[in-house]
Amino acid sequence: MAGTAVRGRLTWLTATVGSIVDETAKVRTLSLEVPDWAGHRAGQHLDIRLTAEDGYQAERAYSIATAPGEPVAITVERLDDGEVSPYLTEELRPGDQIEVRGPVGGYFVWDPVDGGPLMLLAGGSGIVPLRAILRHRAREESPVPVRLLYSSRSWSEVIYRAELDQHAPGVAVIHTLTREQPAGWTGYARRVDQPMLAEVAWSAAQAPLAYVCGPTSFVETVAAGLVALGYSPGRVKTERFGATGS
């Protein structure tokens, strides 16, 4: 196919930072007031663009943390060598303005009509779009049963811990803590592997719908593991955020 050049058509919008909530020592949720926001689906993301005084620009994609109909919010993990996340997590204050573009994406999204059972698998801040899906399911009173397997380094790094602890009807949350466990911890204490998936995941015979989000290596391991259990590749949705900024 021939090369070409085109001008941009999607508009950057000015968002105003509302409330800021500390989720963990390195993770914050920023609510964003975005005039003319088109409304989003559960699992979509938005792009953020920062412009330095010398004109240098950096863009990153961040998953939207809230359900359709809720105010827009993103949850950002500070990466010490990141270009964008240190600014978002340390410098921004309520009332500050940033440029956003979105909502974006039609692949890693879920609506009640898509059914289930839902198998959600998150590594670290990969929980963010899955939290939007859980909230959407609750708001829509969907009866679709859910299992969430959530891998974190330690208990203090579990994002949305209080919300996930609420034991919503039909939602089972299984944690694994890969580096450090609290005294008396009886749950999983290793990276997600094939035996863990075999114990936790819905049987392939139930035709589950899986959403896997996290660092690339996590997603590769988990997606391949689900397919090895008999999951249909077309029903294993993946989103990799790399380890550098999104």
């Binding site: 001008r7 058509r9 039609g106 692949y107």
Partner: protein, 86 residues
């Protein structure tokens, strides 16, 4: 340092840029590799963003499918590695 493979993203990450370039949601579009013929959704393709631009590769044979470079607000697009994009 993160593992090398953690620098590989997927097509979800460039949904905004694709929306800007093509004027429509593209992560659910289907691309066919011009080299090995593998067909897949754009969201599932391998994406590298080394800084100067964006390179999209086939997950099966590593063929370069799409290249995007932004210069002065204009996005230059090279789709020569694709047999089709629908």
């Amino acid at each position: 340092m993160e593992p090398l493979e953690d620098r590989v993203l997927d097509g979800n990450a460039i949904g905004g840029m694709l929306l800007e370039v093509f004027g429509t949601e593209m992560t659910t579009a289907t691309g066919a590799c011009g080299s090995c013929g593998t067909v897949g959704q754009v969201a599932e393709l391998a994406v590298y963003r080394p800084g100067l631009g964006t390179v999209v590769r086939c997950r099966h044979c590593d063929n370069v499918l799409m290249v995007f470079v932004q210069v002065s607000g204009v996005t230059c697009v090279d789709l020569r590695g694709l047999a089709s994009l629908t």
